[in-house]
Symmetry: C2
Subunit: 119 residues, 2 copies
C-alpha cells in the first residue's frame, strides 16, 4: 500500500517536527518542520525539503547554500507525530556554518560553545 | 552566569521540543516536550524530565516503568527553540518496549517495521 502523508499526525499549524541525523556518524544535525507536501516531496525527490515557518514556503535544504541533505531513510515514531530523516549532509547543516545546530552545551552554571564555524 | 531556562524559546503552549539520543550509540531514542520547570528539574536532578501534554504534568521518564534516562549532557540549537539530551537510557525508551520510538521506516511504497519489542 503506497505511503500516505496524511496518515501522519500534524500539529494545529499542519506541521510535524523532523529531526535530521547524519546517516554515517549518527550526529544529530538539526530539527525543522514539514507539512504533508514537504513529506511527499522529500520522498519523491530524495532531497530533504522542509516547510519554512518564517517564510511560509517550501525550504529545499541547501537550495541556496549548496548544503543539501540527500535522503537516506525516513522514519516515523510510535505516535506518528515526529519524523527522523537519516541524511547524507553536504557541508554544514547549521546556518552559522557549523556541522550541527546543537553546538551549545547547557549546565546549571551556564553555557559552553562546543564547535566553531567551519572556515 | 547561571543558566536561565527562561532564556530558551518556547512555543505558544510554553513548550520546547527535546530530542533524546543515546550518548554511547548515537541512536535517536525519542522526542518529547519540556517546559521551563522540566528543563530546570532535568538539570537539577540529572533525571530527564519532560512535560506530558496528555497528562499536563511532569513526566519523569521511567518513573513507573523503570526505563529511566540519566542526563549525560543537555544541548540547545542555534535558534534556542529545540533541545537535545544525550542520555544513558535504561532499557527501552519506547512505550512499545522497543529501544527507540523511531522503529518504522517510510518509503513511497509503504512502511517497514525495523525492530520488535524486547521480550
Amino acid at each position: 500500500m503506497p505511503f500516505d502523508p496524511a496518515s501522519l499526525k500534524y500539529d494545529p499549524n499542519g506541521l510535524i517536527p523532523c529531526i535530521a541525523q547524519d546517516h554515517a556518524s549518527g550526529e544529530v544535525l538539526m530539527m525543522a518542520w514539514m507539512n504533508p507536501d514537504a513529506v511527499a516531496q522529500t520522498l519523491a525527490t530524495g532531497r530533504v525539503t522542509y516547510w519554512s515557518r518564517s517564510r511560509q514556503g517550501f525550504w529545499i535544504k541547501g537550495e541556496t547554500s549548496g548544503h543539501i541533505q540527500r535522503l537516506v531513510e525516513l522514519r516515523v515514531d510510535c505516535d506518528r507525530d515526529c519524523l527522523l530523516v537519516l541524511v547524507d549532509q553536504t557541508g554544514p547543516a547549521c546556518h552559522t556554518n557549523r556541522r550541527s545546530c546543537f553546538f551549545t552545551s547547557i549546565g546549571m552554571q551556564g553555557e559552553t560553545v562546543l564547535s566553531e564555524p567551519v572556515a
